[in-house]
């Protein structure tokens, strides 16, 4: 549906080859494409207009750098300006000051507050060493309280006992008291979803704020929100003076232009993004990465970081040694598989690779997570000896492995064949490495 902005710009600039400077006319043509890209990404019209004016000022008369084509040059300016607008660094959650720290989540219905509360609790518990306390203050939506209770059970975080008959303001006040007594140091308030123009309901939020003085008031917004994101953010900010934003449902194919709109009207930082239904699918927000995404250019940095998080450097070195000596066994293969799965779902990983979203053939590609599970099951059903020396696996061993893993002999055969091929490939790669030829990773992305 969406064509890559880089390609569009490249075609605009085709006739521009050899020019030393960007003229106003060139820029105007290019910016028209940028404007469409931003509008299709749901960035607010007015925000787009202001933004493009700034880009134009910067771009006109600029020398075209030798290393870049004019198209790349414009993209670079646009991207830098986008990053600039989104704010350079992401500030941490403010948990300083009084104990317990109180975090209040607000937003429209269906933006994902309850799930995000649980994700945030898990984040604080496992990555910040905190003792969070979840507070269901949504007494309106049927079963909202049960939902948070169940999520609390899943992540083993205590949940305040509220009942639909209670007053939300009282719930929050009592819960903070209880947290203080019981020694929890971070209270997360899950408020009911509400329309930003519902004055009565907005008043309730103001009352909660006045009663418990939250350190953080986070607006939870859906990444798929359209032009209205501006009004929503404006009203919530006006009523509550929010401290930050959490953007949810970022794992889909929405380009998240709402992020730019919200940031532009509130001037408040986006602190987290929700990237999946699992309770650890909450990432710290990186302005530079969403800039690429809004422009339709992928997110390599997040991918690299994910890989770094899950790959132990020592182990990686060990693996490299093994690869060089061509001692890569099925045991190592299994280890790699587990690591990949730790990085998240395959789809999530693939979506971060630039251009991947645009490839039509790949859009319909079925990323089968189950296949990985089966492969692991097959390897698990081998004896240690078999894993180290797969060549000893004969017909009867194959049958046993298939039976043990609940698969078929054909599948076992396929795995062994693929493993053999992989080994051959690794051999070729390592040979290349020895000859000193470096594979230029960057070239893959252009």
């Amino acid at each position: 549906m969406f064509e890559n902005l880089s390609d569009k710009l490249a075609s605009v600039f085709k006739k521009l080859k050899g020019k030393g400077h960007l003229t106003e006319d060139d820029i105007n043509k290019a910016l028209k494409e940028v404007k469409l890209a931003l509008l299709e990404a749901d960035v607010n019209y007015k925000v787009v207009k202001d933004f493009l004016n700034r880009v134009k000022e910067k771009a006109v008369g600029q020398e075209v750098l030798k290393s870049l084509t004019p198209a790349q040059q414009v993209i670079k300016i646009v991207r830098d300006e986008l990053v600039n607008l989104m704010g350079g660094t992401t500030p941490e959650l403010n948990l300083k000051g009084k104990v317990p720290a109180v975090l209040m989540l607000v937003g429209l219905q269906g933006s994902g507050k309850t799930t995000t509360c649980a994700k945030l609790a898990k984040f604080l518990k496992s990555k910040r060493g905190r003792h969070p306390f979840l507070v269901p203050a949504d007494v309106y939506r049927p079963a909202a309280i049960e939902q948070l209770q169940k999520l609390g059970e899943q992540i083993k975080v205590p949940v305040y006992h509220s009942s639909p008959e209670d007053n939300p303001v009282e719930i929050c006040f009592q819960a903070v008291n209880e947290a203080r007594q019981k020694g929890y140091d971070a209270v997360i308030l899950d408020t009911a979803g509400r329309l930003h123009i519902d004055e009565k309901m907005m008043e309730e939020l103001k009352q909660i704020k006045a009663r418990v003085y939250p350190q953080e008031i986070l607006l939870v917004a859906d990444a798929m929100t359209g032009q209205d994101a501006v009004n929503v953010a404006k009203n919530f900010n006006k009523a509550l003076d929010i401290t930050g934003i959490i953007l949810t449902k970022m794992e889909g194919d929405a380009r998240g232009g709402a992020a730019l709109s919200i940031k532009a009207v509130t001037q408040k930082p986006i602190k987290f993004i929700g990237v999946g239904e699992k309770l650890d699918a909450l990432d710290v927000f990186h302005p530079d990465r969403i800039a690429s995404r809004i422009l339709g250019m992928g997110d390599v940095l997040s991918l690299i970081e994910k890989a770094q998080e899950t790959i132990d450097i020592e182990k990686a070195k060990e693996l490299e040694k093994k690869l060089r000596k061509n001692e890569f066994t099925l045991e190592d293969f299994r280890e790699q598989l587990r690591r990949i799965r730790k990085m998240g779902s395959l789809e999530q990983i693939l979506s971060m690779i630039p251009g991947f979203g645009q490839l039509k053939e790949l859009k319909n590609m079925n990323v089968d997570e189950k296949q990985l599970v089966r492969i692991e099951a097959i390897i698990n059903s081998m004896t240690k000896q078999e894993r180290l020396r797969p060549e000893i696996i004969n017909g009867s061993r194959r049958r046993r492995i298939a039976k043990g893993s609940g698969t078929t002999v054909q599948e076992v055969n396929r795995l062994l064949k693929e493993y053999a091929q992989m080994k051959k490939m690794i051999k070729r790669f390592t040979k290349m490495g020895k000859k000193g030829k470096r594979i230029n990773l960057a070239s893959l992305f252009h």
């Binding site: 549906m1 909202a144 939902q147 123009i197 859906d222 798929m224 359209g226 929503v232 239904e277 990323v367």
Partner: protein, 359 residues
């Protein structure tokens, strides 16, 4: 109003006997005992609450107009302002018109089409002033959203099976409750099937709604195979002679292939019981959603063949312009729109009234 309440009470008594029979049937089939739940007390309470809220005396168009006033303000007042001090429609005016349409979430494609049509008419001197521009805009938008939809005729077959799908947080469960009430009030025998077994407390949420509305629900425990729940639910509906069945599915992003496969499976298995089912597959879209609604419609449609669209949350400041763009691009009829949180705030979509309310 009193009559309405009385009718409900009479029906409840008749319904109560049914339930007892059903519970016996359930036991003999060794199904989950909590499969069907209803406490008359609770339902009575819900009835009273509805009573208190009362029914507004506005006609449908008036009410829609009132609800969409924000949209109307945003669109028409600006279009009126557009021509102040302007004698002719020039480049600047068209650019401002583009802004207005984009800001209403009509999307780049639909907006460009409208602008092109208008530009052409301006150059042919068919549009000379603001009134004419408004008239043409209205006509063009009406053309885009009016799609012949076959009547949503639940008498076609019993049970009439409706499957609800959509991304997370668009309001599927609440919409089911509203639809259930709509048909329950018409004296239909309604069954809700809780096939969202994934999200925490989704089953409890649907159960609470079933109680409030006073209809039956079939559910299994959380984590059960949604296709199995749907299968058993439709089986039950067929055996017990329900008129209409609503299957609530878990919200899922349209890009998750495995989860889309799960929906296809639900569709497949219920066809084993009722070959023509699901008679309707409704995609629920959130009016605050931007251009991604197009992608949602495309992928859900490719996977399942969507028969109709329900657009929720049109009562905020969101302009719901994406509705124009989705209807135009996919030619899938819009069946209902949600314009508020009250139980009767779900209305059959009327393109004429919608455009009328916009301008």
């Amino acid at each position: 109003m009193f009559k309405w309440f009385k009718r409900k009470k009479e029906k409840r008594e008749a319904e109560g006997q049914e339930i007892i029979k059903k519970n016996e049937a359930m036991k003999s089939e060794e199904k989950q005992p909590e499969g069907i739940k209803m406490e008359p007390d609770q339902a009575e309470k819900a009835g009273e609450r509805e009573q208190k809220e009362g029914k507004s005396g506005f006609g449908f168009i008036n009410r829609l107009k009132q609800r969409l006033s924000k949209t109307r303000q945003a669109l028409t007042s600006r279009i009126d302002g557009l021509f102040l001090g302007k004698k002719q429609i020039d480049e600047e005016v068209l650019e401002e018109l583009e802004e207005i349409l984009i800001m209403a979430d009509l999307g780049v494609k639909a907006t460009q089409e409208l602008i092109q049509t208008i530009t052409k008419k301006v150059s042919h001197k068919e549009i000379n002033n603001v009134e004419e521009l408004k008239k043409v805009l209205k006509e063009e938008i009406f053309k885009m959203i009016s799609i012949n939809r076959p009547d949503f005729d639940i008498e076609r077959q019993r049970p009439f099976v409706v499957m609800m799908v959509g991304v997370n947080g668009v309001g599927k469960t609440t919409t089911i409750a509203k639809l259930a009430k709509y048909y329950y009030d018409q004296g239909k025998k309604v069954l809700l099937v809780a096939a969202d077994t994934f999200r925490a407390a989704a089953i409890e949420q649907l159960q609470a709604w079933a109680q409030r509305v006073g209809v039956d629900i079939y559910s299994q425990q959380s984590g059960a195979d949604p296709a199995a729940v749907a299968f058993d639910g439709v089986q039950l509906a067929k055996n017990k002679g329900y008129d209409i069945v609503f299957i609530d599915t878990a919200g899922r992003l349209h890009t998750k292939i495995n989860l889309m496969e799960e929906l296809k499976k639900i569709k497949r298995v219920i066809q084993k019981i009722v070959p023509a089912a699901p008679h309707e597959i409704f995609l629920v879209l959130d009016a605050t959603t931007g251009q991604n609604a197009t992608s949602q419609t495309k992928l859900f449609n490719e996977a399942l063949g969507i028969t109709g669209i329900i657009m929720t949350k049109l009562d905020g400041t969101a302009k719901g312009g994406i509705l124009v763009s989705v209807a135009h691009e996919f030619r899938i009829p819009i069946h209902f729109i949600g314009i508020g949180e009250k139980m009767d705030d779900l209305k059959p979509f009327d393109p004429e009234a919608f455009v009328e309310a916009l301008f």
